[in-house]
């Protein structure tokens, strides 16, 4: 039986029915990984031995007649900016090339209680700064639908692993679209939960007030199940929410009757790809035909979101990344004295994009510029938040494209950072407002590259997002198609 192409909930059923073992499943996924990884390069570290041991332990539980949890024995990948005790965590940066954390991120601790099989650490743009995974300090990841294209980013490795069958589910992180946009580019489901819904303890910080960990999965059912595991308050993260966590699988119902879905005109920007617009509008029509009510809404400050984001995120990044100085951990390039040591280490081991953002951030925070840039950005941020508050008085969910284009060619945009930044227009405002968002596959471009529908929810209302996304997903079959590339169906 081919197993790598199935979603976790089907595999869970097969494990419970003892039709397959966790070891068989893991071996199948690892064989698939062997076949495709050379082309996709989704991983920075592969933990085959650990995976097979974990699978064996789950098989022993099953043999002993124990009930197993949803993720038990299911192969998953973790983005390599999430700390894993004893397993190298690089953030795709040369500066942390050999860094092995002495502790697990809180999400990893929560995952481990479910006994999943962790097959490796997924590639990303260095320190999650980028939207194509081309900024990885080691190598770019390729889109499993067309290996000449980018998988999106920064969680490009996580999305490509799930799309190519090298993992059944993955964890990503989203600061300005880094889960939703690669999910859209790779034809999988990706959710950025509400800021504070999932603990950030152990997520290597890029922009602390925007970062959020979330699931990347084959379908909405898996998304709800993974979110159930990772959501909830954590004493180690003072910004994590105390709000009760509902059982998200209760929202896996097909029902959008009377649901008010807002359509923000500001998200259908000039220069948007025709195929994207068509697919997204079709999806919205589909939701309407399923009983939802479509309401035009306006989010007037959307046009300031990119500039706001590219002041706040780099400012936070500039300080967050100060700790990488070659003194007590990480790589070091020596110098004549301590200042030279720090300078050498940082200037030679950080990549171009990371250095660019550190410089922008320090500029925005420096004496004489703080009020004009950083402080002003914080004020605009509250206006963007207010846009949503106003819109959500009229609607339950907002629908929009996840990205203005499908996946583009590797190298196409890398020399034009500003053009690249504009790619974030549909995703960044949610992070600024702290809202949850989900991207679900909603069709293909003429070149058969996946397109994502983005649904945006009220704070802590992931349940409604899941219900809406599930209802839409079940009305078509985009989520059932797997990326085709060499090594398919051995």
């Amino acid at each position: 039986m081919t197993l790598w192409n199935k979603p976790a909930h089907e595999l869970h059923d097969l494990l419970v029915k003892k039709e397959i073992s966790a070891t068989e499943l893991t071996q199948d996924v690892l064989a698939r990984m062997d076949a495709v990884e050379g082309k996709v390069k989704a991983f920075l570290t592969i933990t085959k031995e650990q995976a097979l041991e974990q699978a064996k332990a789950v098989d022993e539980k099953i043999a002993a007649g124990e009930n197993i949890s949803f993720l038990a024995g299911i192969p998953g990948a973790v983005k390599d900016n999430i700390c894993t005790k004893g397993v190298r965590t690089t953030c795709a940066s040369k500066i942390l090339e050999n860094f092995v954390p002495p502790y697990d991120a809180s999400v990893v601790t929560k995952l481990q209680k479910e006994f999943p099989v962790l097959v490796g650490k997924a590639n990303l743009d260095e320190f999650a700064m980028g939207g194509s995974t081309e900024n990885s300090g080691f190598y770019p990841t390729h889109n499993p639908w067309n290996t000449e294209c980018v998988p999106g980013g920064s969680s490009g490795g996580s999305a490509a692993a799930v799309a190519s069958g090298s993992a059944i589910f993955a964890l990503g992180s989203d600061t300005g679209g880094s889960i939703r946009q690669p999910a859209s580019f790779c034809g999988v489901v990706g959710m950025k939960p509400t800021y504070g819904r999932v603990s950030r303890y152990g997520l290597v910080a890029y922009a602390s007030s925007l970062d959020q960990i979330g699931p990347i999965t084959r379908d909405v059912t898996d998304c709800a199940n993974v979110l159930n595991v990772i959501a909830g308050h954590d004493d180690m993260d003072s910004t994590s929410s105390f709000a009760e966590v509902p059982d998200y699988t209760k929202s896996l119902v097909q029902d959008v009757k009377g649901l008010k879905i807002g359509l923000p005109k500001e998200y259908f920007v000039d220069g948007m790809d025709q195929d994207v617009e068509k697919a997204v509008r079709n999806a919205i029509e589909q939701l309407k035909s399923l009983g939802a009510e479509i309401v035009e809404v306006s989010l007037p400050h959307t046009k300031y979101a990119i500039s706001t984001y590219y002041l706040i995120a780099p400012a936070e990044a500039a300080t967050n990344l100060e700790r990488y100085d070659g003194i007590s951990y990480g790589e070091r390039i020596d110098g004549a004295d301590v200042v030279e040591l720090m300078t050498n280490t940082r200037s030679k081991l950080f990549g171009e994009e990371v250095k660019r953002r550190i410089m922008i951030g320090n500029y925005a925070l420096s004496a004489g510029y703080y009020d004009a840039y950083y402080l002003k950005a914080l004020k605009v941020r509250t206006l963007i938040q207010k846009d949503y508050t106003d819109a959500f008085e009229k609607v339950d969910v907002i629908a929009a494209p996840t990205a203005p284009t499908p996946a583009y060619k590797i190298g196409e945009m890398i020399s034009d950072p500003l053009k690249m930044y504009l790619q974030d227009i549909c995703t960044v405002p949610l992070n600024l407002a702290g809202l949850p968002g989900i991207s679900v596959p909603c069709g293909y471009s003429q070149k058969h590259m996946p397109i994502g529908l983005q649904l945006i929810g009220k704070p802590l209302d992931e349940a409604t997002l899941i219900r809406t996304a599930y209802t839409y997903e079940q009305s078509q079959s985009f989520h059932k198609e797997m990326a085709e590339l060499g090594g398919a169906e051995a």
Binding site: N81, P101, G202, V204, M236, T319, R323, D325, D337
Partner: protein, 479 residues
């Protein structure tokens, strides 16, 4: 030209919490290098801070005890600068919304009351400690970093430049130390670096309202260094100005061994700290009820206690000031008085013999081998006339080295005062007979000559004769 100094202090006060400000590590002094550390205080990738609520409580109490306004909405900020003892290369501190602002304390300098205003009190984390193979970072082949202190909570108490002499600065710092001890937020052990000050000094012509260019001396960790460094800096600046030069705004270090200040870095090298609100810590929101609850927990503060001692026991302003300058001493005093001792005698003995013995052995009053109850018993023996004040010194000496009660010491050594008129009379008669010269002098009108005779009587009675009785009898007999 005559110059006047303008002095301001930033006092760093280490808080006596069990754990660090943002993690669960112990704060204890000492310990092998890098044993009180965890991922959070080491600033490893991915870690987040969580606030130790005691630190906020202590910050609020310190603010209340120094007449500050408590900011009900306060927040932490990142103060960014690169230094190897700072694992994140920023210090989590407070910038524009500190926990407390606009306070004051009163100090007494040479009998005059003076008010020193407090700009603010803010909470922050301490840095680690560099251990150099040589003397300084510059002449060392290598340096190690000990992160045990990293994340130990501090309060930074910033004064307005309201002081004009080294003496005022010292008295102010003593006052802050006393208050922090009283409210029990810090051990205030200066030798362990619990209390240290950055001192700003400038000078200006007397009568001028404008401030001169200031220099800052960092990390002064004793009262002696504080006074010496300020005096040195005032002299140095005066000399520079009198030679027609100008003061450079800079940071200087105080070298206590050589007794001089040395330039460390000038304003041009000054850091731009690029302060940023700490996104990983929610703002600290405090309610009026909480503030009032903390206010109720405050003990009697030094000023109030001093006033009480003056009123209740008639202590002089000076004595009451010395006794209440440290909470342990004030408590010791209260216990001695509660043990039945006369208050003025108790003050004299504590400030005299006890202080002398403690200083000689470098002990604090908490470690005194003479417990308050024993000192009280001894003082009662003086008041009752059982022993003379002179004998009492011998008794105290015994009490310092043995655990015995003063009554037992007096009994064992036969130190009871002779108050038997007949016994004293016998000695007096003998002394008058043996010392014709002073007797003649006295009779000839030199009344002072009696002193020599009293001395002789005391000597022959081995100090045990009641001095008042001796005086009386001699005067009687010499007519």
């Amino acid at each position: 030209m005559k110059y006047e100094a303008v002095i301001g202090l930033e006092i760093h006060c280490e808080l006596k919490t069990k754990t660090k400000i943002f993690c669960g590590c112990e704060t204890g002094f000492g310990g092998d290098q890098n044993t009180h550390v965890c991922p959070v205080c080491l600033g490893l990738p991915g870690v987040l801070p969580t606030i130790n609520k005691r630190v906020v409580e202590f910050g609020i109490k310190a603010g209340l005890a120094t007449n500050c306004t408590i900011n009900k909405f306060s927040k932490f900020d990142r103060k960014n600068y690169y230094y190897p003892d700072l694992p994140k290369n920023w210090q989590t501190s407070q910038y524009d919304l500190p926990i407390a602002e606009h306070g004051w304390v009163d100090i007494d300098v040479e009998g005059e009351k003076k008010r020193v205003r407090l700009t603010r009190i803010h909470m922050e984390e301490d840095a680690g400690k560099l251990v150099h193979s040589g003397n300084t970072i510059k002449d060392s082949a290598s340096s190690n970093v000990d992160y045990n202190r990293t994340g130990v909570p501090l309060l930074e108490i910033v004064s307005e430049p309201d002081m004009h002499t080294a003496e005022e600065a010292r008295t102010y710092m003593e006052k802050i130390k006393a208050i922090m001890e009283y409210i029990d937020v810090s051990n205030c052990r200066m030798e362990e670096g619990n209390l240290r000050a950055d001192v700003n000094v400038s000078i200006r012509p007397v009568g001028s309202k404008e401030l001169g260019t200031r220099t800052e001396m960092k990390n002064i960790n004793s009262f002696k260094s504080l006074v010496d460094a300020i005096d040195y800096e005032i002299d140095r600046q005066t000399e520079v100005l009198e030679d027609g030069g100008h003061i450079v705004q800079e940071t200087r270090t105080w070298d206590p061994n050589r007794g001089i200040t040395l330039s460390m870095r000038s304003k041009e090298d000054a850091h731009d700290y690029r302060y940023m609100p700490e996104p990983d810590l929610p703002p600290i929101v405090t309610t009026d009820e909480q503030i009032e609850a903390y206010r109720k927990e405050l003990p009697e503060l030094p000023d109030a206690r001093r006033e009480r001692l003056e009123k209740e026991y008639g202590l002089s302003d000076y004595d009451a000031g010395v006794i209440t300058a440290s909470r342990p001493m004030a408590e010791y005093f209260d216990e001695v008085v509660a043990g039945g001792a006369d208050a003025k005698l108790a003050a004299n003995w504590i400030m005299g013999e006890l202080a002398k013995h403690l200083n000689a052995e470098n002990k604090t009053i908490v470690d005194s081998p003479v417990e308050p109850a024993r000192l009280a018993a001894m003082i009662q023996m003086i008041t009752k006339g059982t022993i003379s004040s002179k004998i009492a010194k011998t008794v105290f000496e015994e009490m310092w080295t043995s655990k015995d009660a003063p009554e037992e010491i007096v009994k064992a050594k036969g130190l009871v005062q002779i108050t038997d008129t007949k016994a004293i009379e016998e000695i007096v008669d003998k002394v008058i007979a043996d010392n014709p010269k002073p007797v003649e002098d006295y009779k000839g009108g030199n009344k002072k000559a009696i002193g020599a005779l009293v001395g002789q009587v005391m000597k022959q009675s081995k100090g045990k004769a009641n001095p008042q009785m001796v005086n009386q009898l001699l005067a009687q007999k010499l007519g």
